[in-house]
């Protein structure tokens, strides 16, 4: 297989997924025809919109086996994480001032909690093991009498590891500590059941399962209290004011219905492609190291780091051949920053023990339901060519060939 200028291969589904054409179709009437405001209770357009909102809520609830009324629509996972964490703390101030999160949370959890720390909260960052798992005994040991909240993601978009949330949430429940899980990377891609997991709150993101961007949801266990973070009218039971993004919500609901109906086939397909890619890479390079859990991981997710070559140049070269992937490399981290101080190696890679001098060589390949075996084979054909070219440029590789350790 030769490099093909016409290829447009998208292997970055952990960043976002394309909106399914059936989702687009479901959304279209809600822009110009059924444009009503669900808060306009009396006239036809408003009533129609309100009914659609209720039905959409039911569809999203079904995806995570939640009662319909427990779903709060938000502008996405970031807002849902903010609402769950700050909203819970503000509504339950008597609980204490101690927060526990894992070291590998999304920025919307980590940066919020760092801000809360500056505001006077105590923050414990739970370490993960080299496969990216939070250990229940570590959580147990970190808990205090004044622990107010625990937030641990369900799955990592960067290293693919799926946490044992059920076990972790059970520990929180022993002492009645509020347990939130960010399931942005997992919900819609693997089974997520809030009752089985035993969580108090859970974040869902539409654009991670073939829905539109700009819409997400927070599950809130019946009886749990939150303080609203966006203040205004009475939408979403007062938890989240602002006229609902109905077209987006309808899209999220349609994507949730499709995800639920097609999940077994999608997972089987993705697990097959994942195996094909993994096996194609394993044993090819002794300086390629997989990250995350080998089996307890998101379907279609393959992540690794390489010695001697840098991640952004790897991404850039693959993109020249039409293959779009992601890297946790510092140099690829924030192209829109003002200067190099806006660049930082991934905290997730550091947390799983990848030494800083190697973090720069990381790559995340996240496959989607519409990717094919042919595309994976093309990647496996192109990848060694790209690696070879970058090794030829690398002074580190030159040193290694001369028997020196370039990292010392």
């Amino acid at each position: 297989m030769q490099p093909d200028a016409q290829r447009d291969i998208y292997f970055d589904h952990a960043a976002t997924t394309p909106v399914d054409s059936r989702v687009v179709e479901a959304m279209l009437p809600y822009f110009a025809e059924r444009f009503g405001n669900p808060s306009s209770h009396v006239h036809s357009k408003g009533v129609e919109a309100n009914q659609e909102l209720d039905q959409s809520r039911a569809s999203v609830a079904r995806l995570i086996n939640a009662p319909t009324e427990t779903i709060i629509f938000t502008s996405g996972a970031t807002e849902a994480n903010n609402l769950a964490i700050r909203g819970h703390l503000e509504a339950n101030q008597e609980r204490g001032k101690h927060l526990i999160i894992s070291e590998i949370e999304h920025y919307s959890v980590i940066n919020l909690c760092l801000k809360l720390k500056r505001e006077g909260y105590d923050l414990t960052l739970l370490p993960v093991d080299e496969l990216g798992l939070v250990h229940p005994d570590k959580l147990h040991a970190a808990m205090r009498r004044d622990t107010a909240l625990i937030s641990i993601q369900h799955a990592s978009s960067e290293i693919g590891t799926i946490q044992n949330i059920k076990e972790l949430a059970a520990i929180a429940r022993e002492t009645g500590v509020f347990f939130h899980s960010d399931a942005a990377a997992s919900a819609g891609n693997i089974p997520v059941d809030v009752v089985d997991l035993g969580v108090d709150a859970l974040t869902v993101s539409a654009h991670n399962f073939y829905g539109p961007k700009g819409v997400g949801a927070l599950y809130l266990r019946p009886g749990a209290k939150l303080e609203a973070q966006i203040i205004g009218g009475f939408q979403e039971r007062g938890y989240r004011s602002g006229t609902e993004n109905l077209a987006g919500i309808v899209g999220m609901a349609k994507a949730a219905e499709l995800a639920l109906a097609e999940m077994p086939q999608r997972r089987e397909h993705l697990t097959g492609l994942q195996k094909r890619l993994w096996n194609g890479l394993a044993q090819k390079y002794e300086f390629l190291h997989f990250t995350g859990h080998p089996s307890q991981r998101l379907p279609g997710h393959v992540s690794f780091w390489m010695e001697y070559i840098e991640g952004e140049s790897l991404l850039l070269f693959l993109n020249v051949y039409g293959i779009q992937t992601a890297s946790g490399s510092a140099c690829a981290s924030n192209m829109r920053g003002q200067n190099e101080h806006d660049l930082a190696a991934s905290h997730v890679l550091t947390a799983v023990g990848v030494p800083a001098e190697y973090c720069s060589g990381s790559l995340t390949v996240s496959l989607g339901k519409d990717n094919t075996a042919n595309e994976v084979d093309y990647f496996l054909q192109i990848f060694p060519q790209v690696v070879e070219r970058l090794l030829a440029m690398s002074p580190l590789w030159a040193d290694k060939l001369k028997g020196k350790n370039p990292y010392q």
């Binding site: 850039l316 020249v320 490399s329 030829a392 002074p395």
Partner: protein, 136 residues
């Protein structure tokens, strides 16, 4: 090479995909290393200097697209230059020759300038240590 949408200028991409003067000079007059793997970029600059003229320049670089492109452009600018003229090549000049770099990537051009300064210093030191050499 196909043209994909890129955060870099066409010229940067050209120098990244088809780097000029990439490799080693076996009988280099000076070899200068700057940067390190922990910072995510490292450049090794090889210069062959004869009679005060840079007759050949090559590089090896571990780093992002901007690091590789600035290395390539620097060596292009150095070849055939007198040491005096080479001294005045700044990182801005290298970045401008590439039709600019994203602000966050300007430090990559600084690495190229640092490599040049280090190589020239090394050369000057080596000349001071050989007072009997026949430098013209």
């Amino acid at each position: 090479m196909p043209e994909s949408a890129s955060p870099y200028s066409k010229k940067v991409m050209d120098h990244f995909v088809n780097p000029r003067n990439m490799g080693e000079i076996a009988d280099a007059t000076v070899v200068a290393d700057v940067g390190n793997p922990a910072c995510g970029d490292m450049m090794r600059l090889y210069l062959k200097i004869e009679n005060g003229i840079i007759v050949d320049a090559k590089f090896k670089t571990f780093g992002c697209g901007a690091a590789i492109a600035t290395s390539s452009m620097l060596t292009e600018m150095l070849k055939g230059k007198s040491l005096e003229d080479a001294k005045s090549i700044s990182n801005q000049a290298v970045a401008e020759a590439l039709d600019g770099l994203p602000p966050v990537k300007m430090h990559c051009s600084v690495m190229a300038e640092e490599a040049l300064i280090k190589a020239l210093e090394q050369y000057n030191r080596s000349q001071e240590q050989k007072p009997d050499s026949f430098e013209v």
